[in-house]
Symmetry: C2
Subunit: 350 residues, 2 copies
């Protein structure tokens, strides 16, 4: 592997200049810059992360905390995708990472990592309100960014999926399709995405003068979706749409409708969240909200890097897309009614 010295020699400049071309920490004359870049390209130069770490006193490692405890990770493709996105973004900026075990296994591993300064920062994925890892982290002064907001402390730096916006798009679509009595299936637990979805649902329904019906099963399983759908459809004035917080739940709703002889989408619209394979392959295909875990991961890393530089993090919302499929399409249009909102992330400093 070529080092900074060879690049410097090749470009006819000092190693200092080469260093600054790659770190961007001080201005370099445009011509010098291209000379260096060309030399680096020719020599296939890559800055060494260990050397950089040694010089800067950084471990070049992030901690990642996932909600392993429940079955949420296990049964939602969102998390592997997020993990993948985080890893890719970390790799790109020269970092590696380590997983922080959920604290039910004891805090020992985390404490040790913290004391040994093995972690430059930590990303916590979709923290539950009661997660004890966050206080530990904050107490030790490690930079922390969460994906999804930490409800008990809104001041923690975060990046998030714009569920609220997607729900608004969904309501516009449902309205257009002539639905008027939407019910929401969410769950318990203090996840911000649940709170956002409920808030946005309530606001949209009220704004349109529709009844507000929220059911909160203990978990997001298909089974619970099935059970609650059965009950909802058995009421005197049943909903004409059931929105689930997760595709898996929505699949349960479809099964319930099928068993009761309720036609989808004619008698009942069904929408999920996540836009997983489940949505694509269900019968009928499921209207769902597509989130972008990869982008979210990249945003989280970016935010964390900013924190490491001593700058203030800017919280970002990653747009989510409503994907209308047959399960809410009473008309026979073939063009998917994708949301036309800008995909440009909105900024929200704080």
């Amino acid at each position: 592997m070529a080092g900074i010295h060879e690049v410097a020699r090749h470009a006819g400049v000092s190693i200092t200049t080469v260093s600054h071309v790659f770190s961007g920490k001080r201005p370099v004359a445009p011509e010098t810059r291209v000379k260096v870049l060309q030399a680096a390209e020719a020599l296939e130069y890559r800055p060494s992360r260990t050397a950089r770490g040694l010089a800067t006193g950084r471990a070049m490692t992030f901690g990642l905390h996932f909600p392993f405890a429940g079955d949420s990770f296990v049964l939602n493709p969102y998390f592997p995708a997020l993990l993948q996105g985080l890893s890719a973004a970390a790799a790109e900026s020269g970092y590696g990472f380590l997983l922080i075990p959920s604290s039910q296994d004891g805090d020992a591993p985390l404490d040790e990592l913290l004391r040994a300064r093995r972690l430059d920062g930590v990303i916590v994925a979709d923290p539950e309100s009661s997660d004890p890892v966050i206080p530990t982290l904050v107490g030790s002064n490690v930079p922390v960014v969460t994906t999804g907001r930490f409800v008990p402390d809104p001041n923690l730096p975060w990046v998030d999926n714009d569920h609220g916006g997607a729900i608004r798009d969904l309501f516009a679509h449902l309205d257009e399709q002539g639905y008027g009595r939407p019910a929401l299936l969410s769950t318990r637990g203090g996840y911000s995405y649940i709170a956002d979805t409920e808030a946005s649902y309530t606001e949209e329904a009220e704004r349109r003068g529709m009844p507000v019906t929220i059911r909160r099963p203990p978990d997001l399983s298909e089974e619970q979706g099935y059970r609650h759908a059965i009950r909802l459809l058995d009421r005197r004035e049943p909903p004409d749409v059931i929105i689930a917080c997760v595709d898996r739940q929505a699949i349960g709703v479809l099964r319930a409708a099928d068993e009761l002889g309720v036609r989808v989408p004619e008698d009942l619209g069904v929408a999920g969240e996540g836009d997983t394979v489940l949505a694509v392959h269900s019968r009928p295909p499921l209207t769902s909200i597509r989130v972008h875990p990869g982008e979210l991961g990249a945003a989280a890393v970016e935010s964390l890097l900013r924190l490491l530089e001593g700058e203030r993090a800017d919280n970002r919302m990653i747009p989510a897309d409503m994907v209308a499929r047959r399960s809410t399409r009473r008309d026979a249009r073939t063009t998917p009614g994708r949301a036309a909102r800008s995909r440009r992330p909105s900024a929200d400093r704080g």
Copy 2:
């Protein structure tokens, strides 16, 4: 953070000696050794991994490849646990890691990581026979260890769960409970654990003069378990036990039995694999095979480290335990019939 110099001064030795106490790369007199250790303890010394990496030319990073592509990761708690185990073991030996995206996303990220020498070694979790990542890896001369064997190349270093042993224990138990017609539900695809389970099942059944019945649904879903169980139980001579390769599949079998009015465990024994929450909470509780993904991860890291030292890896089998629960217990014993085999890993050099 205290450095090697301070420890050396504190212990009255040279930094060389301190270094060797921690690396174990050359003998140190016992008394010297304890002096150093005490000093290190007092100063809360931790060797710096970046410094070590810089000096040795290592990236101090492992690559991890998981079968994200299918839904296997998504729907099996085994993988998060394995990931956690791998991370913990890596952390302990001073390493961090990076995820290697499945190659359907293009090989670009992996190639770049390889060229930049960002990875000291790679662990591939349960590779399918057709996984193109392995050839890429082997071609680039990175040390590789797989969890579960890579069927096309048995010479790749591996660590594995001893499914075969657990199946033998299961048969002993089933025999004891008077079952005589066990069927196996596995799946397609070239996973070594499927091959092992099928081989061990066939061997045990034949040895006991029992009929051999294997069904291979396209995937390991509950739905497939349900469907195939319905068909199996509808035959003229239905099995009196159905063994599934995954708890989730077994849950489908239970549902089928319930619908058909087949009593479990009286008319039909049901066994799963994984010993997940599904097994514990199903009705009746499910006999299952408990594997130890944490230990497996630790073994994989250990093996990879050995490879990095230039030694030859020794492939290891991690024992798996058969946990007998109500779903195969015709008697009313309350003591769990846990396998009494030694938990000591067996070695198999090669």
